[in-house]
């Protein structure tokens, strides 16, 4: 391997690779999500019979994973690189493995392993089978063949490839601490985000207003239902995301008991399922609204 790529060059290399493969390069979604799967470019686009190839960086917000910037491996916000190939081509694993070569990793020199990992996203009613991809013992990617989304069997099986960019960068740069990663020349990951981690951890664990968040959850849940009645599944889906984030914050804040937890998850899943059904209905041949609504 030559000089290691810094963080932004690594992301740029992934963008180039997947653009070259024919993916639409999307941008991060504007609403907080726990993973790139929640971005409508994955959750909604992977429903229905239309082929779709996309790749994008997704800031993933998981309030309960924050550690006030004190733990070098745990953050309440990290960055996934998300690729979806629908339908999954027969050579999808080779295509993925070549992306690692594009980052300068000589596969034959390393111990690259696909280790069973079945994925489930309970708030989205989604699951699939696949692997963790290990390089020399380090998990750098989750690879999943979607089987259900929104509780519905998928029409075409999507391959979802999710790179953990911090891990991958730590591997490429030989760093043991994510805050020491070189983001750009002269700028570390810690320069950009350590204070962010401290403040958001304080918000997530100590300061978030439980009453406000509880109301917000309920309001977005109602709004989602109202928009579904108005046949507007796309804005309704944003309400699903907002409910999900409010739930994650309440959970981190310790404001949800185990009983309530299962009930909250079921409420979000129910919304996700209704949105999925409404979206599919509009995608069906002969429906008025089509995918042009997604293009914005």
């Amino acid at each position: 391997m030559g000089a290691p790529l810094n963080y932004q060059d690594m992301l740029a290399a992934l963008e180039r690779y997947w653009a070259g493969y024919g993916c639409a390069i999307m941008q991060p979604y504007h609403t907080e999500v726990g993973a790139g799967t929640f971005n409508p470019a994955t959750f909604l686009r992977c429903l229905g019979p239309k082929p779709w190839k996309a790749a994008y960086v997704e800031p993933s917000i998981r309030p309960s994973d924050g550690r006030y910037g004190e733990n070098p491996y745990r953050f309440q916000q990290f960055w996934q690189y998300q690729v979806v190939l629908k339908p999954a081509p027969d050579d999808v694993l080779d295509v993925y493995l070549r992306s690692l070569e594009a980052l300068g990793i000589e596969l034959a020199r390393h111990d690259v392993r696909l280790v069973e990992d079945d994925w489930e996203g309970p708030t989205l009613g989604a699951w699939g089978l696949g692997w963790e991809v290990w390089i020399d013992g380090l998990e750098v990617t989750q690879f999943t063949y979607f089987q259900q989304l929104g509780g519905l069997d998928v029409d075409l099986v999507t391959a979802e490839i999710t790179y953990g960019t911090e891990r991958l960068a730590m591997y490429l740069q030989g760093k043991r601490n994510a805050f020491e990663l070189e983001w750009a020349p002269g700028v570390t990951w810690g320069d950009v985000f350590r204070e962010n981690e401290r403040q958001f951890s304080a918000y997530d664990f100590d300061k978030a207003d439980v009453g406000l968040l509880t109301r917000r959850f309920e309001e977005h849940e109602r709004e989602c239902g109202r928009l579904l009645e108005a046949a507007l599944p796309l804005p309704a889906y944003d309400d699903v995301l907002k409910c999900s984030h409010a739930f994650n914050l309440l959970d981190a804040r310790g404001a949800i008991s185990v009983t309530e937890r299962a009930a909250y998850i079921a409420r979000v899943r129910n919304l996700a399922r209704r949105v999925a059904l409404a979206y599919l209905e509009q995608q069906a041949p002969g429906a008025d609204a089509g995918s042009e609504h997604m293009a914005a």
């Binding site: 550690r67 020199r109 696909l114 069973e116 079945d118 390089i135 380090l138 089987q147 185990v258």
Partner: protein, 646 residues
């Protein structure tokens, strides 16, 4: 004679799928080709294969049995027509008409039959990809089939078939298989060892050479199916991590990374290739990161201390409708006392769930209990208490080890009784394959604690106690959990090496505790050919048959209503033997109990020979029926002997 190779090329299969396929492949192939040729099965992450040596050129002729010969006139014509032969050509074997369907050329039938083999392989978890209707553990990407040097094209929708296999994913490409018999050599020269036993042997050899390796969580069987070309390498980690409890280091190594602990500061692992120096450095960095993370959790927990954790349990839910872990601890303490546990078990119950509030258990749930023990010792809790906390979840598998400390055994039993009672009382009994709380395992654990560790466990009383505790705590009890007893006793049938009927018989007797029922079942099984048993059985069986269904029996036996000598003799024997049966049962001397019950055999026989039970005088009749019922019940304290086949 011919040789056949069939290889199903897959994307990386889980180890469990490899094992599932290994169990089925040989039988499925036998069904496809018939005969008795030797079949060798090879399974691994990227391929499921079988090599069949010594196949005949044709499949065997098959005898198809038709109607019986005496129905020739009525049925022969249609049978013959169905098989496309004339009535004259039907043969007779063993009194039946039939037809010999000649075998086919193997090469002609193989393509379809091999495709069926793929289709019939069943896995506990399957997926679709985009290859049509086939479901499989992971996508099937190629098929390679050779009958000697000839390639067999296997028609499977969306999957290419030919005479080519694939070598090691990263260092070799396609591999031509020139002839079936050359399969193993061809793949080995492409850095793939298809034979799981050869991989296992190579890994064990490498680990032995690496040093004193250990595998406490049993990852070896998975690792065998994680690599196609195993290379055992060793690495080390920084001494500062030795401050962590050894069990934490080992769990991090095994559960996350599938490493094998060597002595302090070192580990071995199995790679699938790569440059050793690069691969070792990478793995060392990963382990250091994981241990750093574990240290972060451990330091936080130690600062907090087990007493503070125990206080936090009031805000951690154990079960939505059965309260917090603090409530659970309270129930465990009461059940420990009921189980005859001493001070140590009750103190352990109070702290048993404290580690649920620790960061470490949040990160590594498999260390629950173990971390509680560690934190208890750090807080200076007496060793008997700390050991009990550590052992509360044992046995954690059907054959797993039992708690060794007396308090640990009591706490482990209380833990299982409570889990069973909660689930049954809240309407969450296990159904079919659904057993999310591991209640079958808990039931087996209880049986073993009783049978092997000698703990006295009287389920009926304990479960009722558990139910009342739940009600006192305000839990939303919806069901009567009394059937926990049956649920556990059904498991007892599985773990005792006696006929199930003996266990079922013993369950119906007067012995109430689990270990007693087990020992009684064993006595019944061992003695069921003996004279005592025959006599006791006869007494029980004859008395029960005649009097059991009659509703006429008197409330109580009245000696003044006896008239015949045989009747008086039976009553006297019962008066003498009855209390001795009971006393022997109380003393767990089941042989003596059986002997005493056997004494009733001859007088019962005589009674039936000489006395007319259904006397015309109603009071006499009712009294005789009562006497027989008393005999049945006295012997029946040993169990429902009628269930035991003789």
């Amino acid at each position: 004679m011919s040789n056949l190779l069939f290889e199903i090329g897959c994307e990386e299969l889980p180890a469990s799928a490899c094992r599932e396929a290994q169990e089925q492949l040989s039988e499925l192939l036998r069904g496809a080709i018939g005969g008795d040729a030797a079949i060798r099965v090879f399974v691994g992450p990227r391929r499921l294969a079988a090599l069949v040596e010594g196949l005949p050129e044709r499949t065997a002729d098959e005898w198809v049995k038709g109607p019986p010969e005496h129905l020739r006139e009525r049925a022969a014509a249609s049978f013959a027509a169905r098989h496309g032969v004339s009535v004259d050509s039907l043969e007779v074997r063993d009194g039946f008409l039939g037809v010999v369907v000649p075998g086919a050329r193997l090469a002609d039938v193989l393509p379809e039959r091999l495709a069926e083999v793929v289709d019939r392989l069943a896995f506990s978890k399957t997926m679709r990809w985009n290859g049509g209707t086939l479901r499989f553990s992971r996508p099937v990407r190629w098929l390679c089939a050779k009958l000697d040097a000839a390639t067999v094209e296997v028609p499977l929708e969306g999957v290419p078939s030919g005479g080519t296999s694939q070598g090691h994913r990263f260092v070799a490409g396609e591999v031509e298989i020139a002839a079936a018999i050359e399969y193993l050599d061809a793949l080995r020269s492409a850095q793939v060892e298809p034979d799981q036993d050869a991989r296992r042997a190579a890994i064990v050899r490498g680990l032995d050479a690496a040093g004193e390796w250990r595998d406490p969580s049993g990852v070896l069987e998975e690792v065998i199916h994680l690599v196609e070309w195993p290379v055992v390498l060793t690495g080390s980690y920084d001494e500062r991590f030795l401050e962590l409890p050894a069990v934490v280091i080992e769990t991090v190594m095994q559960s996350h990374q599938r490493y094998f602990p060597l002595g302090a500061g070192a580990f071995a692992f199995v790679a699938n290739g790569g440059d050793p120096e690069t691969v070792v450095a990478g793995n060392e960095a990963v382990l250091a990161g994981r241990l750093d993370d574990a240290s972060f959790s451990y330091v936080r927990d130690v600062e907090k201390g087990i007493e503070t954790m125990a206080e936090e349990l009031t805000s951690i839910t154990f079960h939505a409708r059965a309260g917090t872990f603090a409530d659970k601890a309270e129930r465990l303490a009461a059940l420990c006392e009921d189980l005859g546990g001493g001070e140590a078990s009750r103190a352990a119950a109070r702290l048993a769930k404290a580690d649920q509030a620790s960061t470490m258990v949040h990160e590594l749930p498999e260390l629950e209990g173990v971390m509680g023990g560690v934190y208890a010792r750090l807080a200076g809790v007496p060793e008997a208490v700390a050991a009990a906390i550590e052992e509360q979840y044992l046995p954690d598998s059907a054959g797993g080890r039992l708690p060794e400390s007396p308090a640990g055994r009591v706490l482990a039993a209380a833990e299982k009784v409570d889990n069973l009672t909660v689930a049954f009382a809240l309407g969450e009994r296990p159904t079919g394959s659904r057993d999310p709380y591991g209640l079958r395992r808990a039931a087996i654990g209880l049986c073993r604690l009783a049978v092997e560790a000698g703990l006295e466990i009287e389920l009926g009383r304990l479960v009722e106690h558990g139910r009342r505790l739940l009600l006192d705590q305000g839990a939303e009890v919806t069901d009567d959990p009394a059937d926990v007893r049956d649920f556990v006793l059904e498991r007892l049938e599985g773990i005792l090496e006696v006929p199930v009927e003996c266990v079922r018989a013993a369950r119906a007797g007067a012995v109430r505790d689990l270990g007693g029922i087990a020992a009684l079942a064993e006595t019944l099984a061992a003695e069921r050919e003996s004279e005592s048993f025959a006599r006791a059985y006869a007494a029980f069986d004859r008395a029960a048959r005649l009097a059991g269904r009659s509703g006429e029996a008197a409330e109580a036996f009245d000696p003044k209503l006896t008239t015949d000598e045989a009747e008086i003799a039976l009553a006297e024997t019962l008066t003498a033997a009855g209390p001795r049966i009971q006393a022997a049962l109380d003393g767990r001397d089941f042989d003596a109990a059986l002997a005493a019950a056997g004494e009733l055999g001859p007088p019962v026989d005589r009674f039936f020979d000489e006395v007319l039970v259904m006397a015309e005088d109603g009071a006499v009749r009712a009294n005789r029926l009562r006497l027989l019922l008393d005999v049945r019940d006295a012997v029946g304290a040993l169990g429902d002997l009628g269930r035991i086949p003789r």
